[in-house]
Each structure stands twice: as C-alpha cells, then as structure tokens.
Symmetry: C3
Subunit: 304 residues, 3 copies
Amino acid sequence: MATALRRLAKCSVSARLLSFAGHSRGRRGHFARPCTVVAQRNFSSASTMTVDLDSSTGIAVMKLHSPPVNSLSLDFLTEIAISLEKLEMNKGCRGVVVTSALPKIFSAGLDILEMYGKSPERCGEFWRAVQEMWLKFYSSRLVTVAAINGSSPAGGCLLSMTCDYRIMADNPRYSIGLNETQLGIVAPFWFKDTMVNTVGHRTAEIALQLGLLYSPQDALKIGMVDELVPEEKLVSTATEAMARWFAIPDHARQITKSAMRKPTIDKLLSARETDISNFVSFITKDSIQKSLKLYLENLRKKKA
Amino acid sequence: MATALRRLAKCSVSARLLSFAGHSRGRRGHFARPCTVVAQRNFSSASTMTVDLDSSTGIAVMKLHSPPVNSLSLDFLTEIAISLEKLEMNKGCRGVVVTSALPKIFSAGLDILEMYGKSPERCGEFWRAVQEMWLKFYSSRLVTVAAINGSSPAGGCLLSMTCDYRIMADNPRYSIGLNETQLGIVAPFWFKDTMVNTVGHRTAEIALQLGLLYSPQDALKIGMVDELVPEEKLVSTATEAMARWFAIPDHARQITKSAMRKPTIDKLLSARETDISNFVSFITKDSIQKSLKLYLENLRKKKA
Amino acid sequence: MATALRRLAKCSVSARLLSFAGHSRGRRGHFARPCTVVAQRNFSSASTMTVDLDSSTGIAVMKLHSPPVNSLSLDFLTEIAISLEKLEMNKGCRGVVVTSALPKIFSAGLDILEMYGKSPERCGEFWRAVQEMWLKFYSSRLVTVAAINGSSPAGGCLLSMTCDYRIMADNPRYSIGLNETQLGIVAPFWFKDTMVNTVGHRTAEIALQLGLLYSPQDALKIGMVDELVPEEKLVSTATEAMARWFAIPDHARQITKSAMRKPTIDKLLSARETDISNFVSFITKDSIQKSLKLYLENLRKKKA
C-alpha cells in the first residue's frame, strides 16, 4: 500500500514533466504513460531509454534502459546520440542528467558482441558511433550531469567522464574505471585524453595500464567522480548540482567549456578516419578475436 | 600610544629601505616620506602604488593602492607593468612581493568601467595592457611572491597566479578565483592556461565554468595558493619564502622558470592581435554591454 | 650466527635465479657466484651491476653497484642501457626491478666529474648516453619498477621516474628529487616533462625551480613515489607490484604505455642533437665550470 502510494507520488511528480521525443524512431510521447520508467521496463528491447524534459526547469533526465546491463551496441549508441542531439536543438532544455534505469549498473560499456565475429565494415560503423557519442557529449552546449547509480566500467566510465559533473552512488559494490586492458584491448587516444583531463597524467598512466576499476570512495579520491551520495539521493543531488550550473549565463559557461575541451575534440576530429581504421585492424586480429572469444565464454559460464 | 609606537617602528624599518622609482610618472622618491604607504593613503588617486626596494636583501615590495578596490584600469595596469619593468632592469633587485595597501582587498580584478560604454579602440588598448601585465609577470626574471591580504577575484586572482609563490591571509571572509562567468563574461585562453598550470585541468574546468570563488582554506586545498598565514604574518612569511628562492642561483632558477612557462607565453605572443580583436568584438556586443550595465547598476545599489 | 643463516638463506633464494648476462663487457654469469651482490662489493669498479633474471617469474632484478654512490658516469650509463636492451630482447623477461646494491643510496645522479673539465666532444658523448638511458627506460616494453632503497637526487630521481611504478624505503634520512638548480645547473626539458607527467605542472614548477629534495613521506604526498614500505620489504613489495602488472596482457599494457609516453619521447627524439649542443654549450661555460669546481671542492672537504 505504502509502495503503491509512493509510486503514485512519483507519477504525480512525473506528470509535471513535459515529454521529450527522445526516442530515435518516433515512439509515442510521455503523456500517454506518465510513469515512464516503471512502465517501460516491460517494453521490448527496442525501447532503450526514456528522456523526460521538465519544461519548468529546463532539465532533461535521460534514463538508459537496455537490459541486461546497458551495453553500448551500435543501435544503443545511435539512439543515445540522437536523443542528445534532439535535446540540444530544444531551446527549452538547458541541462541533462544521464542515469540508468537498470539496477546496479550504469553502463557495462561497449558491447563486446559488436567487436566479435563482425565484418570490418560493421566494426568501422560501430566505432564511428562510439566516436559520435563521445563527440556529442564532450562538446554538448547543455550542462551534463552523470548520476552514476551502478557500476560503470570501460565505455560506461567514458560516457560519465564526458559529462560536466559526476555524482556516484556511495555503494562499495559499484566500481568505475577504464578497464580495457584487463580484456586485452586498449582504450583509444581520446578515451585516454578524456581520462588525463579528468584525473591527471600520472593517475591515468597507472589506471589505464592496469585497467583499474575503482570503488566509489577511491574514484572520489582520484577525482574520477566529483561527489558521492546515498543512492536514493542521486537524482535530487543531480538536480541541486544542475542549479549551480544554471546560475551561470549559458553563453559564458558554454564558451568556457569549449575553451577547455576544444583541443581534445579537435584532436579526434582531425584523426577520425585513421582512428577508425586503427580500431578495425586491431579488433579484427586473430589474437584479439581469440581473447574476446575467451572472455565471452567465461562470461557465459559465469551466468550459467 | 601603542599604535603610534608601532607606526614609528614601522617607519624605522622602512627607513632601511632604499627608495625605488617605481611610480610611472616620476613621483618623488622614498626618503622624503619614510612611512610611504601610511602617508600615501591620503594622496590623490594618481598615486596608485608604492614600490620599496631593500637594497640589502634585493627584495622589492609593491603595494597596490588604487582605492577603493585596486581595480585594474588601463592606467593602473600600465603603472604596474612599468613598475615591474623598472625592477627588472635594476640589478640590485632579485625578487618582488606584490601585496595590497588597501584593507580587505588584494585586487578586485579588471576595471569593469574600462569595458562598459567604451570605443572599440579604447577596449583594444585596455586589453593590450592586460596582456602586457600578464606577459611581464608570468615571464619575470625576478622571484615573484603574492602576499594576498584580501579578496582576489578575476584579474586579481590572475595577477597572483602569475607569481612564483602565493601566500594568502587565512581569513574566511576573503575569497579568490576566476569568477568571470558569474558576470557573463569569459576568461580568455591565457587566463585559462594559467589556471590549468596552477590547479590542473579538471579543477580548472569546474572552477572556470562555475566562476568559483574559493575561501583561503579551499584555495589551499586545490593548490590555487601555496600557504595560509595569519594576516599580520603575511609580509614576514613572504620574506622567508623569498629567502628559499634566493638560495638558488638566479640563472638556474630563471632558465627553469622559463622552461616551465615559455609554451604558455608563446601561445599568447603568437595570437596576441587575434586575442585583442576577439575581446573587443565580444565585449562590445549589445548583449554583453547590457549584462555589464546591469552588473554596474547592482553594484551602485549595493553601495547606496 | 643468525646473520650467517640469513645470508645463507639469501643465497639459496638467489640460487633459484637464472643468471642474466647483463654486463656489457661479457663478465661471467651468476652461477659461479650465487651471492652475487655480497661478493661483488669487492670487485673492481668495472663490475657495476648485477642483473638476475628469474625465468620462472619473468622478473629481472637490476642491482646498481658503482661505489661509492652509483654516480651515472658515461660508462655506467652505457652499461645500464645495454643491460636493459638485453632484457628487452630476452623473451623470458617481462619486467625489471631496478634497485641499488649500495647502502643508503639509490643513485646520486649524473656524475659531476663527467661535466667538469671535459672536452665538448666528451660532454656531448656523455649527454647522448643520458638521453639514451632515459629513452630506453621511458619507452621500455617491460614493466619497470624502481625499488628505491636510498637517496635518489637528480639523475637518480630521473631514472626512478622513468619506471612504471616507484616503491621507496620509508626512511626519513633518504630523499628524492630533481635538485639540479641547487648546483647551479638546469634539468633539461625532458627531465622537466617527465617530472610534469609524474607530479603535475604546478608541483614541478616549484620543485624544479627550488631544486627540492623530498622526504619519502613528502614524495608520496606529491605523487613522486607510489608506495612506501620498510626497507626490508622493498624487494618483496616490488615483486607483488609486478604481479599486478603481469596480470594484464602484455600487448594491451604496452600499447597503453606507449600512448601515454610517446608524445614526450617524440619531443626529445625530434630535438636530440639540439639538446646535446645546448647542454654542451651550457656546461662548458666558464661560469658553470666555476660553480662545478666549487661544488666538487666542497664535496672533497666534506669527505676529508
């Protein structure tokens, strides 16, 4: 009963929100289904996120919902990038909170299945989508806040690091980091640059080589996240943080953000095709495909 | 009575100092008025600083005195730069302590009145003077120590960050930071570079976007200042710090300083004219002029 | 008696190790003299290190032994570089621990005698060897761990900073840092770059200008070393650390390491000859030679 009331309360809060057409293939709006997230959990896998924009505050909440672990597949990456682009073009939107609709996981990172047994063309298409997501988020005119409500390895960590501010649930069972080397693969230079910009050269050097995953407490210590809160306070804290960023005139904040990030962005833009062919030739190597096969088999054994 | 004795004591200390012709328009030397700073407070606004060089130690003390808040106007910037240049050319001078002769404020930063309602030519002239001050201080052959005895927002913070060492009075009512975005304006790339060189990329990214002003304690934590002391110990601590820098042969220290700072300096030198025209076209925009007008009106209301 | 037993125990541990022909001029292997280090102290100065590779673990231990203080002379630098190169070419070797066989000193840094009263040609040859050591270590495919069991000023600090991981004996009598300016000389740009990569720009700026030597505790605080342990645990801790690095597939770790360090390495490679002639013209100046003479005389007086 109490739970039902709380859900109702959530819906009434949600009812204040204006729907945002954040779904890449023109799914129906929000008014038809006020308790978006709760409802959507039962939907098909095509419905991989909800994006709700509160027109009174200008804050959108993007909830990633690609079970089981928000793996970043080609389709999912494309949907995320298009959703952000639509928010960018919406004058009523000033900021976006990125979080997960799934329990215990923010995002498990790039979908290994997109890298295993795929044609070079498909691998290249996939990599371009990874670049696109990074480029869009790292250069977004919006205030971007990651509300990290679960583990966030590899590409999940990267997504959170593109944001302006990172708040993580203070749960020691969660971890975050660029752990690519643990899988025998390598974070590309722009993952590395983002990491260096976030935690500095020396910490990045150790973390990237060892593929370290940090507890929330350790992630706070090295500056990989900016704040820890109990999980139930994650969204309210994200909203409070957003208010501090909204207190600054948008144009001044945006020019400043661009000044800080443009050199890193330009570096990828000027080497984008080379980066794609480097990735493709690396990932399609026999030795790498063997590692990935082994990794996937171990993963399946664990589940079984 | 006790106060009078203390003032006398100060004068006798001061009497050991050799005067330095640090005033840009040839004002009279120091011996004529031993208690320089105290006396000068009653002078006309043309007398905007005292520069006393102790020939026995090689330490000059530059006390900024442009009431009410040491705003960096075109004239004041020019005077500061010329004063430093004269010290540079004086073989008896090895270091300079920069501090304020005004209570509670180190410097309020760039003079907003130089940016509001002025011709593009005048704005350009002003900006060149800001660049000049930064270039001279950031590349100074002298050991430069900022004794920050009051609040130090925006350009005041920049001036202190050009120094080799920063000591701040441990008074929680003082604050320091590059808060340009709070006024709707933007710190140019070389302010940003100086900030990144001082506190690192990630801290600079947040601080510059939010225009954060830090308490002395927080400024110490992020490395924006190097040391906190009670205000009455500021000058003596600066002198002690200077002794540590003087223990190093000048040529080795200078070459090392240049190696650390030259890339940042060269970046401005190679883009100086572009930077000026960027500033002029930004600051003379209607929207920016409106923000500045609003800001100045609020400032006047506060005072009234 | 107990001591004798411990020495015996050490020898029996040592006996498990395979010898590595790490001596540049074909000295005899390790099996002939199981307690290598102890024995070697009585040898001629030509025998300046032992390199023992444990084929079961893939870990080599390089013990520097150039009495009295492991000064980096032209010969010693050459021997170190050749030893590392041989390990690099040995497929059985995955990592190397660099440590000192001398008490209280890791390495006193570049040999001043190589810079004083020498011909420009000889100075240039010396400097090329310093570059070579740095280039080889900073870009090594091996996991490199410095087990810093004594003071490590100047070039000694540099050598340790080229490693992937630094463990220092927690003895307050030891110190570490790039203290070149204290001698009136200047760390070249690639020393500076290595320092900035390790401790960040601002800390490097102060440390290099003042030629600061840090206690182990302070070195840990600024990130110049990664871990402190009691001296007797230094080697076992180094082995444990190595295990964490070995857990990562070599190719992924190596590509990541290269991505982090290549820009810094390329900078020296593209300016190598200029850097040599800069060094030679600086060090052969009368004023610098005078400082070095003074320094050497003081050193001799201290000893006497």
